[in-house]
Symmetry: C2
Subunit: 412 residues, 2 copies
């Protein structure tokens, strides 16, 4: 069955475009760190030895617009955006800060920043910091953590005191997809701006920024975009907002005519004004390679395979795992789900450890009792899904996990 699905998989050949070591490892955490594209080591070596080593400072001609050019590649292939609306820069967290601060400044007098309790922790921390510094209210919607954010809950929480609304497009635990179009319309109805975190959607599902009228977004490049560990993030600012918004960290890469080294800050035109300091070039090279392979596969095909992989995963889970005490922690309808699935189990922490250490399957643990399984469409086969779930059922049946601590150790 898995073999049939793999034979019919139009993306099957992409697995060979990545370094996939010949081992028993089943990797279901591409949504935390995407695999290494086979072309990346060579591109990086060239950038290091030829551009840095031989070209030295002169190679800035190749690097000075990487932020914008990779941004344009993301706009063309990963999210619904126009050239000049996306740049690659800083970390996701720093970008959240820049855009949220810019949005709050653009809605003076409004006292509320709206998010939900299903946003990624770093998003919540950024908003807590901004709310504390500005004396604003951080309004937090309670969400069904297995089913995702309901537009009706957002509508109830909105009023004309809300300056900014920010949610994850795909929830990091459940994989639930937020209704970007409806929520954006509701936010606009009360005059608020929207800031979307695309970390778990960019590269796995279509991201309808343009058709939703979304205002702002940030995204991660080291998950589905396979840019490498901690690779710089991207940010989106809708064209007509770019001149109106001013981000708070004024730096020389956001300056008009940067090398005039002028005394007075004068924000560059367009999306460039959302840049700050010198970009981490070597890490950017990885982003470019990852984005290109995603572009080649195409979001449509990736989405289709992501749905099929997770449907297959849930089918096997229903048959093998639910009887062993697991419970689905994601939307059952694949139209409402990104490319990962979570399962509740009271012993999730130790099952996760045992699965990695004894069964060579790499999932992720998510508090307090979730096992998160992310079959990345570019590199995961149906056979991988079958193997992973088979090993998981055998693990739990054998109670191998009981040799592990019941809880994640607390770090103080």
């Amino acid at each position: 069955m898995a073999e049939d699905l793999d034979r019919a998989d139009p993306l099957a050949a992409f697995r060979d475009r990545f370094l996939v070591p010949d081992s028993d490892l089943v990797y279901l955490d591409g949504n935390s760190l995407g695999r290494l594209p086979a072309a990346t080591p060579g591109r990086l070596a060239e950038a290091v030895t030829e551009q840095w080593g031989r070209g030295l400072i002169r190679s800035w001609e190749h690097w000075i617009e990487l932020a914008q050019s990779i941004g344009d590649e993301i706009a063309a292939a990963v999210v619904e955006a126009d050239p000049g609306e996306v740049v690659v820069s800083d970390s996701t967290t720093v970008n959240l800060y820049k855009l949220a601060a810019a949005a709050l400044d653009a809605r003076p007098g409004r006292r509320v920043l709206l998010t939900d309790d299903d946003n990624f922790p770093t998003d919540s921390y950024v908003f807590q910091g901004l709310a504390a510094a500005r004396g604003l209210e951080l309004r937090v919607i309670e969400t069904d953590l297995d089913d995702g954010l309901a537009p009706a809950a957002v509508r109830s929480a909105l009023d004309e005191d809300v300056a900014l609304v920010s949610f994850s497009h795909v929830a990091y635990r459940s994989g639930a997809i937020a209704d970007m179009a409806t929520i954006t319309r509701q936010a606009h109805d009360v005059g608020a701006l929207t800031l979307w975190d695309l970390s778990h959607s960019g590269g796995s599902i279509p991201v309808p920024l343009r058709s939703s009228g979304a205002d702002l977004a940030v995204g991660c490049t080291y998950k589905y975009l396979c840019g490498g560990p901690g690779a710089p993030a991207f940010l989106y600012v809708r064209r007509d907002l770019q001149e109106e918004l001013q981000q708070p960290i004024w730096g020389w890469f956001g300056q008009r005519d940067q090398f005039a080294m002028a005394g007075q800050y004068d924000a560059a035109p367009g999306v460039t004004r959302f840049l700050v300091g010198t970009p981490a070039v070597l890490s950017m090279i990885g982003v470019r390679e990852g984005v290109r392979i995603v572009a080649e596969a195409g979001i449509g095909a990736l989405r289709a395979k992501g749905q099929a992989l997770t449907e297959y995963l849930i089918e096997l889970a229903d048959e093998w795992l639910i009887p062993l005490g697991f419970r689905l922690a994601s939307p059952r309808d694949s139209e409402r789900r990104g490319s990962h699935v979570s399962l509740h189990h009271p012993e999730a922490w130790r099952i996760c450890r045992a699965l990695i250490e004894r069964y060579d399957v790499v999932p992720d643990f998510r508090t307090p009792d979730r096992l998160r399984l992310g079959p990345a469409p570019l590199t995961t086969s149906y056979a991988d899904v079958w193997d992973a779930l088979d090993r998981l059922r055998r693990l739990v049946e054998s109670r191998a996990h009981e040799a592990y601590p019941t809880q994640r150790p607390r770090v103080t």
Copy 2:
């Protein structure tokens, strides 16, 4: 003469530890982008293929504390600091923002941020942004741009309304060294905090953070520390200030017990609270290699050679270039100068272009009329200095530069 100096140079062997292509190139811009350590491509390839490619998400065990461990290596070898006072993170600009904002928050009621007109543009932009956002006064000392910042000028500008004082330790144009100890004492006398930009001093001269009682500092890793283009920057917070200060960008890498994924931000103990988002790991690997080779050479030896190289450079400039219309734009006393020297010339822009394109010498241009020559002590020979100045004199004598535009093109 240059050959004799090279034979007697105790650091001469370090040149072979870098990729120095066998060409006629004389590279005098190591203070903008340091050369590639020969070990770095191998280390990077290993991090890419073994850690990312094979280890995948599990390799975070190697990466999760890179920020702190490389920071400790910088504290041990590059700046006068203790373990736990330095981390590597973000860009220099973002770090300036974080630390300046934290300092301003720690001095509520004070309305002045003090800097000078010789600080690097990105520093000034950050301070302009903070002053604008908070309604503060940015007080800017006029400095002798060839001779550097006089402590007396700082003293005159200080009063009890000053919250934060921030200067470059080594001026990016003249190379003048600011008197960190005296200026810090003056600032403390009025209750202000100090934030030093070490971009042009870290890795080239001793940085007396501890003995000066300096409060805060940021530094660049891609210049004298040879970390690679745009490599993440470092920041220093004096131990006893760490718990008192709160930086504004609250992110998950600054969170206590990060993977508890808790809802409420709770700043980590120590210098970790000054981290923000996921670090650009590949770029960090380059920083570690660069810091290690600097540590091996030793700041004392690097400083001695930096003084000798720039003294030799000025000696040749006096003899060959001053008669051709050049004028020294740096302190003449090497005790007051870092490892680079600037020269005024009314045709500096076109001379710089011609020198790169026709004479295979790479200096840097600095507005409006400066040619900046940075002989990096780790990799520059005395013969390089002789060759560069000989080519420069021949260029100007031949008027080869007159084929180039007189001015840098304006970018709009």
